[in-house]
Symmetry: C2
């Protein structure tokens, strides 16, 4: 558990895109973001108050989050001075970079001396159990994709937001680095040891009120040969009541696999249902989320109308339209 | 890579069953087993020459393999004296126990001082890549089960033996602790980090002669909710040309999951094929292996005849009958 609220560290970000982790926190958990810290030459701007460390502490910030990605995921020497000072000022540090905070000798030494925590969200901190398959109370929803990076996290966050706006009981359950930094909690599933993947998801989505929904962040795709095992662990550990199919309609091939075309939405629906039913016989596919960022408005609407007609399922782009129709589908279950 | 041949250490095994790892090495790789080391009170016997450490060294043994399982998988204090002496005599040590050799301070110190290796086959020693999905030359066969522990490893070892007996090119590819100790090499898949599971199987089954078969040891089941992700990584990383369905006909429920019945062989066939085709469009299900150890001869034959008739596939118990008909099916592909 990472202590909130955060000061979002943008460092010397070369452009806006490199700060997308910080942007995600700002967009989805604005209450967690008291301000931004920008160094000289920073080209990103979250339109949050610029603060130095003392101002952020005074505003209540407890953790400095490295919200910027360098080329190579390294911890830039230029950042070190600020990170060390932050520890000395009483901040914990959190990062999703490949290179770990804890492996930087200077940061580790200062954290130890000051008693502050270094949160590397790529590293599991919990000894997860082996999955026991027992049915749990409460409802669970999972997005499954035709590919990696088609908008599953965005769909889950939009669903959670729109459910809360209606006064429904909902929790976004993060399974990746960005999601964990956004919420301060979760399972870094891609770094969990094989035998414990499904158990980690059971641990993440425990017994709850009968009318509570866990909105589980999806990962990978059953049809992406590099990561499909991770996706199946989510389906069997999460024992979802509702599946949402996620798709990006302009993708020429599976991400990172030039020789692999995308599966059809029908194939993803059928295989996902067959496998998910084994953990939860009542599971249903309730809708489709389409990432239409690469299409203009007319093309996006035409694409979604075609899919809705073909699949017989409510089909939305949660970014363009909100997730309201998907919430309707969950409520109707 | 564990150096062969081995001296098989049975310690103070309380019964024959507790030495089943050693038995597997003796049955499947007799050339790797120069002798057995039994302590006072040992109730197991592999019918190998009893040897002390000096005799085993003289007979060429390079590694002492802990071939016995204690309750709890611990390294018994009673064994320590022998294990330390073995290191001092020039043996490497290998073990598949949960408690690691390397975590025993006395063993670690002596191994360091003598320059000997401690092989804990539960721990991956290789930085596996992320799977790239590229098609590889050579053929691959994988057994997929209705459940865990239904005879997939035995089926693979029997296939490999019977193929070699016919002069065919074949390699058994171990993916679990016992298989790794039997062959001295392999991937401890259940201990690999999620993102690298499929990549580890690609690494294990590289390009090969067009007429060479990798016989890949299966793990788990697509329908076992605790481990299904591991199974799917095997299917997508292994990109098998041939699948064999493995089944144990008297199992009342999925292993360790009292609320879960077993899937039908038809369900395993259909889901496995759908998912496997994405990595290898030419994949076929070529046969069924049935573990009939719990049935008498007449019941076993009746069970297999029923399955063969229903599935239209050659159906054998490799333990009772050998894997010859499955080899025929692979050759006919």
């Amino acid at each position: 558990m990472i202590e909130t609220p955060y000061l979002l560290f943008l460092g010397d970000a070369p452009d806006q895109l490199s700060s997308k982790v910080a942007q995600g926190i700002r967009d989805w958990r604005p209450d967690n973001a008291v301000g931004q810290y920008r160094m000289e030459g920073c080209k990103a701007d979250l339109r949050l108050p610029d603060m130095d460390l003392a101002e952020a502490r005074a505003a209540g910030a407890k953790t400095l989050v490295v919200g910027v990605a360098n080329r190579g995921g390294v911890i830039s020497p230029a950042w070190k001075k600020v990170l060390v000072a932050a520890l000395e000022e009483g901040f914990d540090l959190a990062s999703g970079l490949h290179n770990l905070l804890r492996n930087e000798p200077d940061l580790a030494a200062v954290a130890k001396a000051t008693g502050r925590a270094l949160h590397d969200v790529r590293v599991p901190e919990v000894a997860y159990p082996i999955a026991n398959g027992k049915r749990r109370r409460g409802k669970r929803c999972l997005a499954v994709g035709t590919d990696c990076s088609v908008g599953k996290m965005y769909t889950a966050l939009a669903l959670d937001r729109d459910m809360k706006a209606r006064g429904l009981k909902s929790t976004f359950r993060a399974t990746g680095q960005t999601g964990i930094l956004i919420t301060g909690d979760g399972v870094p599933l891609d770094a969990v040891v094989a035998d414990f993947m499904a158990g980690a998801i059971e641990w993440l989505t425990p017994d709850n009120d009968p009318d509570h929904w866990d909105i589980i962040e999806g990962q990978g795709s059953l049809f992406h040969v590099s990561y499909s095992g991770v996706t199946l662990a989510l389906i069997h550990g999460g024992q979802p009541d509702a599946l949402i199919l996620s798709h990006e309609p302009t993708r020429p091939h599976m991400r990172g696999l030039p020789d692999y075309g995308l599966p059809s939405l029908e194939a993803v629906r059928d295989v996902s249902l067959t496998l998910a039913r084994f953990a939860n016989p009542d599971v249903q596919v309730v809708g489709v989320s389409v990432n239409t960022a690469a299409l203009d408005e007319a093309a996006a609407l035409a694409c979604m109308a075609e899919i809705e007609d073909r699949m017989g399922l409510p089909t939305v782009d949660p970014f363009r339209q909100g997730a309201g129709r998907l919430v309707d589908a969950l409520v109707a279950l």
